[in-house]
């Protein structure tokens, strides 16, 4: 609490410019000195709110929200094949409105360009949800399409502004696989059903995760894995809606 005292002008005090000014200027404990030394605890709890401070988080400038893929039916899935991911130099393909062909828009966000533990931005919180419809081998008969060894991997990559290359952040790799009980007696109704799993990624990217603390954007990529013994490079992964969000944090890392 601020301790500010105004020494009143007394009846016996000469009432002139000097007696008035002295209340506010030089003497120790004067009003001017006290106001210039207001302590932190003089601020009432809750006094400073959203009208005084801008948010500590910045959503950056999302350039693409993947609206086109926010659907919930099979006919609107986007598909990636093992053959396509093998052909990619990194083994991964960006999520794209046109699927593995890559002729649409990538699932990519623009972020702050520099991360530094000392600020102003020291981290990017990335939240991604990728809804897998199925990963299967379309060249097989319905009862044999789903192998436990077929899977799909998703990870987050950042754009290295120096090289122009997208670089994977391996701690973000998440993957799914699973066989449906298609071969079990009495479960014929299960034949050719889809796995339908969600792949969530929650990660915090800091300066230590990226080269030189510089980045030019964030994107999500996918890789199709397959059972090399029983299945072919025709193995495909179909996705429903995919969402990617990142929040750049003005914060301190401990």
């Amino acid at each position: 609490m601020a301790d500010i005292t105004y020494p009143p002008v007394e009846e016996t005090t000469p009432f002139n410019a000097e007696s008035l000014n002295s209340r506010f200027s030089d003497p120790v404990g004067s009003v001017r000195e006290a106001i210039n030394n207001i302590s932190l605890d003089a601020i009432a709890p809750g006094a400073l709110n959203q009208f005084h401070f801008m948010s500590g988080a910045s959503t950056g400038s999302p350039s693409q929200s993947f609206d086109q893929l926010r659907v919930g039916r099979q006919g609107a899935t986007h598909t990636y094949t093992r053959a396509q991911t093998v052909a990619s130099s990194s083994g991964y393909l960006p999520f794209n409105t046109a699927g593995g062909a890559g002729s649409g828009t990538d699932l990519r966000l623009t972020t702050v360009s520099t991360l530094d533990d000392d600020g102003p931005y020291s981290g990017i919180l990335v939240l991604g949800d990728f809804h897998l419809y199925r990963v299967y081998d379309p060249s097989q008969l319905a009862a044999d399409r789903y192998s436990v060894d077929s899977g799909v991997s998703v990870r987050i990559e950042y754009l290295n502004p120096s090289s122009g290359n997208w670089v994977g952040i391996n701690k973000t790799i998440r993957w799914v696989s699973g066989q449906l009980p298609t071969n079990r007696t009495g479960t014929s109704d299960s034949v050719d059903r889809a796995q339908q799993l969600k792949i969530p990624i929650r990660t915090l990217i800091t300066a230590s995760d990226i080269s030189g603390g510089k980045l030019g954007g964030i994107r999500a990529v996918v890789r199709v894995d397959y059972d090399s013994v029983n299945q072919s490079t025709a193995t495909a992964a179909e996705f429903f809606q995919c969402d990617l969000a990142c929040i750049s944090l003005t914060s301190k890392k401990t």
Partner: protein, 216 residues
């Protein structure tokens, strides 16, 4: 300012009065000498970049196990964490952090990779499940207490042996916003595996926990 100043303005040709002069200043001094509130600060006065300490808005604590552990493909590391069937809550040390904070709101995000596929488990282990699906539950523990609202997972058993996919490998994620008091806290990602005939447990691979102190 939300009050009139001066309270008794001195008019031309008037005689200044001591009491009125004092009263002109008392109100201001008393207001500042009390507690400054939202009326004392102009909107937009502060730039968070220049006027705030780096720990004034957000402070985050994060831990992950890095790039090791289970990755796609046959090159599976042997240092993954095994959670046996019928387990209680098991804390993942790679996703457990302790820190000291003021009273604040925490936004906790936690994620992990789980596999039940015996073909991806380390050779020589007796952890290979049959084709059953072990249901997995994941939660966030704060200071030894598993927050019920953070718990996800589970399964609805069928009358057949298997329910859901067989030998699934999947990532899971959960989050919660939780108020904490001042002092030292430990926040952990916890996992437990349900009872399932034939099920021997699951393996946990990559995992990460992020605690965001939202101080403003």
């Amino acid at each position: 300012m939300s009050w009139r100043f001066p309270k008794f303005p001195t008019a031309t040709n008037s005689v200044p009065d001591v009491d009125e002069t004092n009263a002109n200043f008392y109100e201001v001094v008393e207001e500042i000498g009390g507690r400054l509130n939202e009326h004392n600060f102009e909107a937009g006065t502060f730039s968070i970049y220049a006027a705030l300490d780096s720990d004034a808005g957000f402070v985050f604590h994060a831990k992950d196990m890095g790039a090791g552990r289970i990755v796609p493909g046959p090159a599976i590391g042997g240092d993954d964490t095994r959670i046996p069937a019928r387990s209680g809550w098991r804390k993942l040390e790679d996703a457990s952090i302790s820190f000291t904070s003021p009273a604040t709101l925490l936004w906790i995000n936690a994620s992990l990779q789980v596999t039940q596929n015996p073909t991806t488990m380390p050779a020589g282990t007796a952890w290979a499940n049959d084709d059953a699906f072990n249901y997995v539950m994941v939660g966030i523990e704060v200071d030894g207490y598993v927050i019920p609202e953070s718990v996800i997972g589970g399964a609805e058993p069928d009358n057949d042996r298997a329910y859901g996919v067989i030998w699934p490998t999947m990532p899971l994620a959960t989050d919660i916003v939780f108020p904490i008091g001042p002092g030292e806290h430990t926040v952990s990602l916890v996992v437990r595996v349900g009872a399932r005939e034939g099920g021997k447990g699951v393996h946990v691979g990559k995992c990460e926990i992020i605690c965001l102190e939202m101080r403003r």
